[in-house]
Symmetry: C2
Subunit: 301 residues, 2 copies
């Protein structure tokens, strides 16, 4: 299972029961939180997400609608006697803010807490079955996007074959890595006779807040699902540019240029009571678009 659950789909001003940015990414047994606007811990409770399972939190930038809920979430994790470690990745001043707030509250977290400042583009987490990369986006202040990728061997076991040949399961890991198999009698069985091509690894790119920037398309090339902000409808492209945000058709153009399989749009301005028009406009340019609705999980496939 690879999915993205929307906890907040609105831009800076909360409105119409839409909340500031927060997304929960589930990848098999891993849960990642991307951004953590005010009220994220309440949204986590509302949608019955187990916050104890979140081990990695990524903060794109230090505008409040992307991180004002972080301190509350971390404090609550402490009050709930969390023991497992928590890893937070974000712009370096975030650590000063967290430290200062913990200090004035005389709070010591009961779990190991690690902070990783975002400094350069590239790999930031190298997990057993996933990787996370970061890249810069163009916003009014320092801002980072994230790509979460499945890690997969290029080939997987052809169970029917390995069972019929009595190949021990202990050898499977080597087969996935491309090794041939040598029988007790000394016969070599070629790897391609024991494995089949794996499905390509899936990936999710979160483009954070950004002005329309064609160079982003290269950074998120070929992802399975691209989240791109659409703060405004297409008619307000000047206002979008002024404020370092994007419109519907700009997001769709990036998805197209990036050859993304699917586009997810969000970060809607509070000037819009209804967000239906966003979907229609984006689809004009890129058909496989979905609109981020709070509480809904979008599968990466």
């Amino acid at each position: 299972m690879f999915g993205v659950t929307i906890l907040g789909n609105n831009s800076a001003l909360p409105a119409y029961d839409r909340h500031p940015t927060a997304q929960l990414v589930t990848l098999n047994d891993q849960q990642f939180l991307i951004d953590c606007g005010e009220g994220t811990q309440m949204q986590i409770a509302r949608y019955k997400i187990r916050r104890s399972k979140i081990n990695h939190i990524f903060i794109s930038h230090l505008h409040g609608d992307h991180y004002f809920g972080l301190m509350g979430l971390i404090t609550s994790m402490g009050l709930l006697s969390r023991e497992s470690e928590l890893n937070v990745y974000g712009p370096s001043p975030l650590l000063d803010i967290l430290k200062l707030q913990l200090k004035v509250a005389d709070t010591r977290l009961p779990f190991p807490f690690h902070f990783y400042p975002l400094e350069k583009e590239g790999l930031i987490v190298d997990g057993k079955k996933f990787t996370v990369e970061t890249f810069k986006t163009q916003h009014r202040i320092e801002c980072w996007g994230f790509i979460i990728r499945e890690k997969k061997s290029p080939r997987k076991i052809d169970k029917e074959k390995t069972l019929s040949l009595n190949i021990p399961a202990a050898y499977y890991e080597r087969l996935k890595n491309g090794d041939d198999y040598e029988t007790k009698e000394g016969n070599i069985i070629k790897n391609e006779d024991l494995t089949i091509p794996n499905t390509p690894p899936l990936s999710y790119a979160f483009c954070a807040d950004t002005i329309y920037d064609e160079s982003l398309a290269n950074k998120v090339k070929n992802v399975s699902m691209l989240y791109h902000e659409t703060t405004y409808l297409k008619d307000l492209h000047e206002r979008a540019a002024d404020r370092f945000h994007s419109t519907t058709i700009q997001a769709a153009a990036i998805a197209q240029k990036a050859n993304a399989k699917k586009l997810l749009i969000g970060h809607f301005s509070s000037k819009y009571e209804s967000i239906d028009a966003f979907l229609a406009e984006a689809k004009e340019v890129f058909d496989n678009t979905d609109i981020a609705v709070e509480g809904v999980t979008y599968r990466v496939q």
Copy 2:
């Protein structure tokens, strides 16, 4: 109109759709916010309160459940192009936190912003028709309570008399201040013949987070309404003391000793799904008790 609207009645961990502490106090044309836990700006929207009218915000202490919503509220006021000044009163490190968060976001507030560090007990705001005093409570960290009082002249105009004697309205202010009136003919009319005793000024005391502390009763003597925290039911008095909180009957005892006219209780631990038992227990000791329910306005009378 003098009233207190509950925006959050829960303690540190949000639970059962109960929110961290925040109260809106309305006194005639003034609106004061006391404490501002995470999500307060959403609660303000939910209960259709005009945030533009809030000119004074009082923060009792720097545990997150009492101020993590402040930065979001202030930022939103800025985004909404507020122009009128905002006055914030709280423990001095709060200013460092606010400044740091504004700096990293590269945000300049479009309205005059004044911060007043709480340093000693006594008067902190001397308005035309109200005063605000602060006093210390005993909590795990520096913590302050607040008393908001109507300001009233001891006597008010007896309109029937002043009209029948053709006393000009311009003179009313002096009559309220106790002056006698001299007619054109040089006759003195005594003040007590032109005025009647005013109703005593009403007052609301917010006791913040506190361990059971009898000396509080003196600090909030004779208030019209006393808010006192009741984090726990009476059986958990040891846990309450350990954590510098109070129980139902302790809050009620303070109300009784203080000769408060009415008691309002809140700051319920998230261990309680239902809060009904709190009211029953407090009433055993102090009958005129009300339980703080979110969205409800309690009149100070």
